[in-house]
């Protein structure tokens, strides 16, 4: 069982994805999707991924709401900068942010969140130093950004993935 299905959860997720994409639950579709899901789960075995612990789905839901709200707010802010201010009265710049977590899932999720939010960009991660380089379009206070990234996102992610 474990040899044929090394990642039962992820395999099921892939099958669901397949059914959603095809948009049908005919027996043939399910069979083909199941074969595709099982075969691709063997690929994951070859990748030797670190174990993922996904805890506290409620915390994940809360984080997605925070991110959604932040995306809407910063879309508005960046649109205003582009339309009205251009390059006047504004300074963009880099902030190096010291991170606490080294969990690759936390880092990947943090990179997705930061880059998906307009106005901030994940530029570089240094694994030896465990710091990341953030580029901010409208940079006012560096310390503020360190605080925002750590308390708003990093702490919540560490709650979810450990």
């Amino acid at each position: 069982m474990t040899r044929w299905l090394p990642f039962p959860g992820l395999t099921l997720l892939l099958l669901l994805l397949w059914l959603l994409l095809v948009g049908s639950v005919a027996p043939g579709t399910i069979l083909l999707g199941a074969v595709a899901a099982v075969v691709s789960s063997w690929v994951w075995l070859r990748l030797e991924l670190p174990a993922v612990r996904f805890r506290r789905p409620l915390a994940a839901l809360r984080l997605s709401l925070v991110v959604l709200q932040e995306i809407i707010r910063s879309n508005n802010a960046v649109a205003r900068i582009i339309l009205y201010r251009g390059t006047r009265n504004r300074r963009s710049g880099f902030v190096r942010i010291p991170l606490t977590t080294r969990n690759p899932y936390n880092l990947a999720a943090l990179a997705c969140i930061i880059t998906a939010t307009p106005g901030t960009l994940w530029v570089e991660y240094d694994s030896a130093d465990n710091t990341m380089l953030l580029h901010v379009l409208d940079l006012i206070d560096e310390e503020e950004w360190v605080r925002i990234i750590k308390t708003r996102y990093e702490m919540r992610l560490m709650e979810i993935f450990g």
Binding site: L17, L20, L21, G23, I71, I72, N75, V78, A79, I81, I82, L83, G86, T87, S92, G93, F94, V95, R96, I97, P98, L99, T100, A111, C112, I114, T115, A116, T117, P118, G119, T120, L121, W122, V123, E124, D126, A128, D129, N130, T131, L133, H135, L137, E142, E143, V146
Partner: protein, 147 residues
Amino acid sequence: MSHAADLPAWVAVITALFVLLGAALAMIGSFGLLRLGSFYERMHAPTLGTTLGIGSVLIASMLCFSVLQTRFVLHELLIAVFMVITTPITLTLLARAALYRDRIEGRDEVPLPPPPPECREDAAREAGSDGDSPRSITPSRQPDDRS
């Protein structure tokens, strides 16, 4: 085959508003790509289109087609998930390439890379830490470590 005539007026209005909002955000993003100053600033502009822009279009699509009931509405959620996962990879790759180029060319506005490992080990030994502890925001750097 067009079902547009079957669409109730209020759904049509809401759908149109969301499509317009999405299109406007994509346009502002493209405009920003032209207008903003440096490469790094320009990279922020297209994210308008890839977040709320695509989101609005997807909401419009879900609303329109689920009212018309021509197909399963959850397709759009998948598109959103794939956008969220794939866009940061491209953007981060571009940003790192630009950073690498600027460091090689020795531009002043670009931050220096963190100090090389041997300097870091020395600093860690002096500080008596194992290197795991969070460091200050601006780690001490050798003034000549960029040649």
